[in-house]
Symmetry: C3
Subunit: 259 residues, 3 copies
Amino acid sequence: MLTLASDFGSPYPAAMKGVLLDRLGDVTLVDVAHDFPRQDVRAAAFWLRETLPYFPPAVHLAVVDPGVGTDRAALAVRVGDHALVGPDNGLLLPPARRLAARQGGDESDVEVFDVAYDDPDSHTFHGRDVFAPAAADVHAVGVDALDGIDRLTPLTDDDYVDLTFPEATVASDEVTGEVLVVDDFGNAITNVPGDVLADHDEATVNGERVPVGDSFAAVSEGDQLLTVGSHGYVECDVNRGRGDEAFGLATGDAVHLEF
Amino acid sequence: MLTLASDFGSPYPAAMKGVLLDRLGDVTLVDVAHDFPRQDVRAAAFWLRETLPYFPPAVHLAVVDPGVGTDRAALAVRVGDHALVGPDNGLLLPPARRLAARQGGDESDVEVFDVAYDDPDSHTFHGRDVFAPAAADVHAVGVDALDGIDRLTPLTDDDYVDLTFPEATVASDEVTGEVLVVDDFGNAITNVPGDVLADHDEATVNGERVPVGDSFAAVSEGDQLLTVGSHGYVECDVNRGRGDEAFGLATGDAVHLEF
Amino acid sequence: MLTLASDFGSPYPAAMKGVLLDRLGDVTLVDVAHDFPRQDVRAAAFWLRETLPYFPPAVHLAVVDPGVGTDRAALAVRVGDHALVGPDNGLLLPPARRLAARQGGDESDVEVFDVAYDDPDSHTFHGRDVFAPAAADVHAVGVDALDGIDRLTPLTDDDYVDLTFPEATVASDEVTGEVLVVDDFGNAITNVPGDVLADHDEATVNGERVPVGDSFAAVSEGDQLLTVGSHGYVECDVNRGRGDEAFGLATGDAVHLEF
């Protein structure tokens, strides 16, 4: 099984699928998403971290790649019986660490490899010409035997680009964090751990007093609320509406909570 | 085989796919749509009714769920060798009745079950934490043996939420109906049965005289027409253009036809 | 294996998938794209030509069909062990010729057949009622035996609609071409062969002097460049931005290059 994720929109993902199917025969392909915010490596890493751990063992091909055509490396990352393949820009590390944690492991279970590649046909579509062939190679030999692929070289953590999410600052009666991503519903998902909302019925968000609810339906249709979203973080939401618009929040904006 | 449908956009459907694949192994998943008009249960029920009957026997997971996180029930519905799984808000009943009719049956062939579930991890993503696991259970035991699942309880029609579409009022020389949905092309699909257009070359729609045509090409590019769409209803369309804009119609708007 | 492509948006492609799965059992379906520019046969033919050759042998169902409901024919096209099925409006010919070339053949390896069909249920959805059943028939008998299907009749090239892309006019120090398509990133893809950029560091595009680069990263973020895209053509692009907007170009616009 292979999953695919990118910021390619349409129809470029289909060329990657063609390459994979041509090399691997009738393998199962599953799209994670191809509409990640364009060239936003951090947002894509967030979504991959929150989504890939639900999958059974698979090779995960992920391409959000503002450095396409430069000399940035290609990586393969192994975490138990999962593997991730994509550009060396930090994209793969947050989901890899989460996969390790879900398997009861830790950072030491994340193995990172450089994937050597020849100068490809295209300097603008490494998804098709570099990463899909690399993912096919990993799938063909199997995740267990991945380190037997000649063009793979183990890396230490000084050798590749890492990416971590900013952490919220949590005090007893106030929290400062930021919006990590806005989802398709308009929910503004912050980096503030959901447990700060425990025992609170309302809170002040950037100066505005709003109720805290267990679910959207805790408030009337069209009303704002703070809730713990499906990722475990505080979200600034609207029941049946868009939280980003009501709260005036976009990705990267600061969020200051007071209780 | 499992089909998936929702108003989740992207990438939330991928988490549901991960849950299904993790529980069922390499099952075939087919997306119906994940861009149903947000939280519009009626529109989603319309599209499911018009689409699911073309599929071979399958478990159909469908989630448009404005009541997520409340105590609304989860349902499984069996119709012959098809099953539907989703929230108790009417969504599943129109496609279930259509599936029964396509199989030569009637309303009595629609069996509805309550699906008991524990308090899930998330109050905002029952698609991942409640409905996908329930659909996996139904698929795992098989639709034939669905009623053997312990947490399923048969319901009578007083016990669940039903949904029916408004019917048009048809007289000999005039018809009053409404727009049920607008499709991606901008075709305004009404609830008026297509046969009212038989033997008419033109009609008045909300006061405007337009031709009746067998196909878009019956009128010049950019011109309005009434035609019988692929669902069997009267549509207010434009050849190679958007009927909703030309006729000034949106979902729920009244449509008055005179001949 | 079947691939599907259309300008149908959502959820109409699902009805085609239902028809295919109902007739063929658990066949592998792969979406190429369903958001081709609406009713733009030339743009769709371009994307199919650039995408389908990456796939292993398959039946390719492609429907962009402004003439739906008229008496335009349905075609099946065989190229080696690939087959294409769709409307007789030129859509299938550019990808068919490219598939022939990739297999080391030429135009003579493209075999075109008329597919006879009964008056379908719908005059507005031949994708579901005409083309999907035809593709299922071709897949069921196999591409090798396609000419044994009774309702298929071989055609000569006078009998069907062809489509070719306009060619750029290339002189030693200037080139005149046009924009064939704009991709989802906003890259304006022209019909000018990429090799005209060899040995040039900059060029004038419609009067504006811009750098020539091997990849997006050859210029600063937000800056314009000319590059050779993944299709081998000159593209008018912006590093991490939209070339169509920066250059003021849309599909069909003339592009005049001077060196």
